[in-house]
Every structure is written in C-alpha cells, then in structure tokens.
C-alpha cells in the first residue's frame, strides 16, 4: 500500500489503485473525501478555515487552507484524472470543537456551515459524515475500493 499523507491545509487526488490517502488529527478542521467508483479516482482535502477572504494572499499560496477555495480545487483536480461530478461519493469528517460553553471560538461549526453552503450551491450531496463534538479524528480513503475509515481513540469504523 502506498500511503499519501495529506497535511493541514493541503489536498491530494489519486488514481493509483494501491494508494491510501490519509489525514491525521482533524480538530476543528474538516476532511472531505471524494471518490468516483467508475474512474477509480479519489481525493482528500484537509481545510482549516471557512473563507479565503480572511487572507486572499494566503489563499493564493495555499488554496487548500480555506473551504471556499479548497473544495473547488479538490473537485477540479479529480476531474483532471477523469472523475465525473455526478458519480462522486462525498464523505465528511471533522469540525470538532474545544470546551467552549459560551461559543466564543467555534471554527469547527463555521467550517461545517461553509462546506454545507458550497455543496448546496453546487448540488453536491454528502453520502456520510461524522462532524462536531470534542473528538480528534483521522480519516483514510482507499482509492481502489472507495472505503473511508474514520479513526478516533475509541477505534476505527467505516464512514
């Protein structure tokens, strides 16, 4: 197996049947996996903040840092490998939060809302998701089978 690690504010796409795309310790960040069962193309994005308007200059240098620049780039990169939008299976994990009774600093929720908004505008459906809570998550996509595994301290389950 060929493991491709996707760092924070980064993304990867692949059509290598031997590849696993994996990203570790998603806190308030969100991991998005896409997979085309026909073209056997998979992609994984680990974005960190909702909107590129926070820092257009950073968004230019690392578009995967933000939801509204990262998501389009993820999809486009997969299309380049032959994926088609209508076949893509989309799964989502992350958006956790710290203990924050007053809701002062909830990036996780804002990340998730930004993602829902962009998917809604573009008619993209989420096949499955595991978001929110106080959990740190690891997300792994098997490019050949499309299987997505979600790992926490509690164990590993299919998403």
């Amino acid at each position: 197996m060929n493991q491709v690690v996707v760092d924070i504010a980064d993304l990867a796409v692949s059509n290598d049947a031997d590849a696993n795309l994996v990203t570790f310790s998603l806190g308030s960040c969100i991991g998005v996996t896409i997979w085309d069962p026909q073209a056997h193309v998979g992609g994984l994005l680990h974005f960190m903040l909702p909107e590129a308007s926070l820092s257009p200059e950073k968004a230019k240098a690392s578009p995967a840092m933000f939801c509204d620049t990262g998501v389009p780039l993820l999809f486009k990169s997969a299309y380049q490998l032959g994926a088609a939008k209508e076949r893509l299976v989309v799964r989502v994990a992350g958006g956790a939060q710290l203990l924050d009774e007053k809701g002062i600093f909830n990036i996780g929720k804002r990340n998730y809302l930004a993602l829902r908004k962009i998917f809604w505008k573009n008619n993209v459906l989420i096949a499955s998701e595991d978001v929110g809570g106080n959990v740190s998550r690891t997300l792994k996509l098997n490019v050949s089978s499309g299987e997505v595994m979600l790992k926490t301290r509690e164990g590993e389950v299919a998403l």
Binding site: D7, I8, A9, F24, S25, L26, G27, S28, C29, M48, L49, L54, S55, K58, A61, S62, M65, A96, Q97, L98, L99, D100, K102, I104, F105, I107, G108, G133, N134, V135, S136, T152, R153
Partner: protein, 282 residues
C-alpha cells in the same frame, strides 16, 4: 494517587536532562536589552554542535535565503538573533519533545510540532500587541506542555478513568488529570521549569496555560500562551486524544483585546511557518 506514584513523578522530573547550556545562556542574553548581536554569536560559536546544526538548518531550502551561510555571524546578520535563538531552542527540544506520548495518544514528532506551533503563535501575538517580552513569549510557548512527558505514563495507566470523566461532560482533560492523578501536566511542567531555573515569567506561563484566570495578577504572557495553545489545538496541530478536551478562557481573549479574525489569521500564518521549519529540520 499513591505516595509511590508521587515519588516516581518527582524522580522523573529530576532525571529529565536539563536544557543545554547554550540554550540557557541565549535565553539570558535575549532577556537582557543590553546584550549585543556579538554576545549571541559568541555563545553559539563556542558550541560546535549547535553551530553545525544551525548552519545546516539555515542553509536548507525552505528557510529561503538566497546565498549560502558559512558562519554564525552570517546567520545572525541575515536572520536576526531572535530567529537564531528560536532555531537553536527548537533544535534543543526536538529529542525531548519529539518522542511519542502514548498516554495522551500523541504520535512521535507531534508534541514537538505542537510546541513549535504554539511558540510561533505566542510570539506573533505578543508582537502584534507590542508586548515587551517577545523573546520569553516564544520560550513559554515552546515549553508549555513539557509536563506531558512526565505525566505520560500515569495518564496512560489511568486513561480509562480520565476519559470517562471528560466524556461525562463539563470536565476538561486538565481537570480530569487533577482529579484522577492529583496533578495537571501544567503544574508538573512548572516544576520542571523551576528545576531548570527558567525565568519566572516562563514558569508562570507553563503553570497557568490552561487556567489563565488563576494567575494573580493576570499576566499577558500567560494569557497569550493560553490563547496560542487554544488556536493550535483547535486547528489540530500535533494534538493527541486530549486535544479537543480543553477549555477556552474567553476572559483572557478580552483582556488582551484579541479578535477572532486576528486569531484565525495568526493560525494561518503559523501553519505556513511551521511547514517551512519542519522541512528545515528534515
């Protein structure tokens, strides 16, 4: 917690190797406004291992200098003494903070990464607020979780109990450490700092980094270390299974007059900087 466990923890603290002399002397120099670039260069030049390592890091492509650096004087001129101090400190803590902390579910390398990220974030915050103690800010951030390497085994042994407490809700990981083990990693870290004879401001930041409200009087470096930690935990930089179970102190943010957008910008900047530092160390 039994007396034997307390003994074991005390013993672990005394067995922990101290920070190398070069780091300690640089720390003193940088907190003294009268010291010169030459003083800093002399301290480093005196230590061949650090010199070699520093030159290697400075010449890595990711630091982005256009020409080859051949001496400590060159490095100091091009990067500034403050940056050099940071690179030396990061190098000196890499082995200690870089080992895996299984009790916390922290893989190898991750605690060092978290510590460097928090250090960069505290420094940026201190700079943006024009706080004077910028040099101490970095060190406070770098060492804030040093107590984890002492408590790791104890946390691992009692993880089930700690996890149950935090999952019932309303209890932070730190509070659970206190109630199950009798100490928090912050308190233990402060003891390490005392033993190392670190400046008081840094010991204070380590001790109160999860509970800045208990620091009397309130202190800017303590508040900023707390906030920087929260930013990095939130983003998920190098945290373990405990990462999301810490409490945000909104009062600390208010005291320092920090807006959310500033914190998010700092988070974004730190991620970019961290990636370049990580590459330089590879």
């Amino acid at each position: 917690m039994t007396a034997a466990t307390v003994d074991r923890i005390v013993q672990k603290i005394s067995a922990l190797p101290r920070l190398p002399m070069t780091s300690m002397r640089l720390m003193q120099l940088l907190s003294n406004p009268d010291s010169s670039v030459r003083d800093v260069v002399e301290v480093i030049r005196f230590d061949p291992v650090v010199t070699a390592e520093l030159l290697k890091i400075c010449n890595s492509a990711s630091i982005g200098l256009m020409r080859k650096i051949e001496s400590v004087t060159d490095a100091a001129r091009l990067l500034g003494t403050n940056r050099i101090f940071q690179l030396v400190m990061a190098a000196h803590t890499r082995t200690m903070l870089g080992s895996s902390q299984d009790g916390y579910g922290i893989p190898a390398g991750a605690l060092w990464k978290h510590s460097v990220a928090v250090a960069l974030a505290v420094e940026r915050l201190a700079r943006s607020l024009a706080r004077e103690q910028v040099g101490q800010a970095f060190t406070a951030g770098l060492l804030h979780d040093i107590g984890k390497i002492i408590l790791n085994t104890s946390v691992g042994a009692d993880y089930a109990k700690i996890a149950e407490l935090v999952k019932q809700g309303g209890v932070s990981f730190c509070e659970a450490e206190k109630s199950i083990l009798g100490f928090t990693h912050a308190e233990i870290g402060a003891r390490v700092g005392e033993r190392w004879e670190l400046p008081e401001a840094i010991v204070r930041a380590i001790r109160y980094h999860h509970e800045p409200e208990f620091c009397e009087p309130h202190d800017a470096i303590v508040d900023l270390t707390h906030i920087a930690d929260i930013v990095c935990l939130q983003i998920g930089v190098g945290g373990g299974d405990d990462a999301m179970y810490y409490r945000i102190d909104g009062a600390a943010m208010e005291r320092q007059g920090l807006k959310l957008s500033t914190l998010e910008t700092v988070g974004a900047e730190v991620i970019v900087e961290l990636k370049s530092i990580e590459k330089a160390f590879h």
